[in-house]
């Protein structure tokens, strides 16, 4: 068992544990923290795969920026412990078994058909520079168009999170004949 594998398993264990903890925790803050743990562990996996840039972004953007936003909102809305309401039988009766079946099948396919050849540690160095070149060459259009996406997101956040107008829509407008 190489170091590589040990590291993989360690990060993997953290990630899975974090994911399960996310599900198990009833308070959203705890879930958010678990998610951060998952992300951090995944950043480790990325490093193992040589994706340095991605690993860095994962920590900075994902774990840092995005999750902070989550935590911020949780605090803002003062979200408390989750109530265990019984809202949906379907999710339990169909959804979870379906999910299990699907993931088992996919796992089986992956193990059986995706090939067992090993991926060497740092197999593909994803240095920021090479990634950057790629972004400005081949992926120029997606990269640029992403700005629109962000524009939309900002506008959306502004529109939706701002206080709704106090003036309710007017009374029904009558035909003016």
């Amino acid at each position: 068992m190489s170091v590589h594998l040990i590291l993989f398993l360690a990060f993997g264990a953290v990630a899975v544990a974090g994911a399960i903890n996310l599900l198990a925790q009833t308070h959203p803050i705890n879930s958010a923290l678990s998610l951060i743990a998952v992300m951090a562990a995944l950043a480790g996996e990325y490093l193992l795969l040589g994706a340095e840039f991605v690993a860095a972004v994962q920590v900075i953007v994902y774990a840092g920026a995005i999750m902070v936003l989550f935590v911020f909102v949780i605090m803002l809305l003062n979200a408390g412990v989750e109530e265990r309401t019984k809202g949906s039988r379907v999710a339990i009766l169909f959804g979870v078994p379906g999910m299990l079946l699907g993931s088992l099948l996919v796992t089986w396919v992956v193990l059986r058909y995706s090939g067992t050849e090993a991926v060497p540690a740092g197999a593909l160095p994803g240095a920021p520079r090479t990634i950057g070149t790629l972004l400005f060459h081949e992926f120029l259009l997606p990269f640029e168009i992403t700005s629109i996406l962000i524009l939309v997101a900002i506008m959306g956040a502004v529109v939706l999170a701002s206080k709704p107008p106090t003036v309710a829509p007017g009374a029904p407008i009558r035909r003016v004949d």
């Binding site: 809305l77 999710a91 993931s103 067992t116 593909l124």
Partner: protein, 100 residues
């Protein structure tokens, strides 16, 4: 040396956890987190495949996914705030004005 399939299985497990979270969690924010978990799972696949194919495009893809996730989270949290404003709850089971 770790076989590709290990990464894929890990990615699949994370994705499945995300799906499960969506199904069983009641708090909208947690549900949203589950979606992020699913995206993370996918990201791992991308990176693994990128290594497998020696194609950096996979990593670039992850970058884009993160950007999208960021944008989504901005919008999503805004929506959650809007819902909370009108309904005073974050329990998804109680957000059921629209049905049948």
């Amino acid at each position: 040396m770790v076989p590709l399939s290990y990464y894929l299985v890990l990615s699949g497990v994370l994705f499945a956890c995300g799906v499960t979270g969506f199904l069983i969690k009641r708090n909208i924010i947690t549900i949203f987190m589950s979606i992020e978990l699913m995206l993370n799972g996918v990201n791992l696949s991308f990176v693994a495949f990128a290594a497998h194919w020696h194609a950096l495009a996979g990593q670039v893809f992850v970058f884009f996914v993160m950007v999208v996730a960021a944008a989504e989270s901005a919008v999503g949290l805004a929506i959650i705030i809007a819902v909370f404003r009108s309904r005073e709850t974050l329990n998804v089971d109680q957000v059921n004005l629209l049905k049948l």
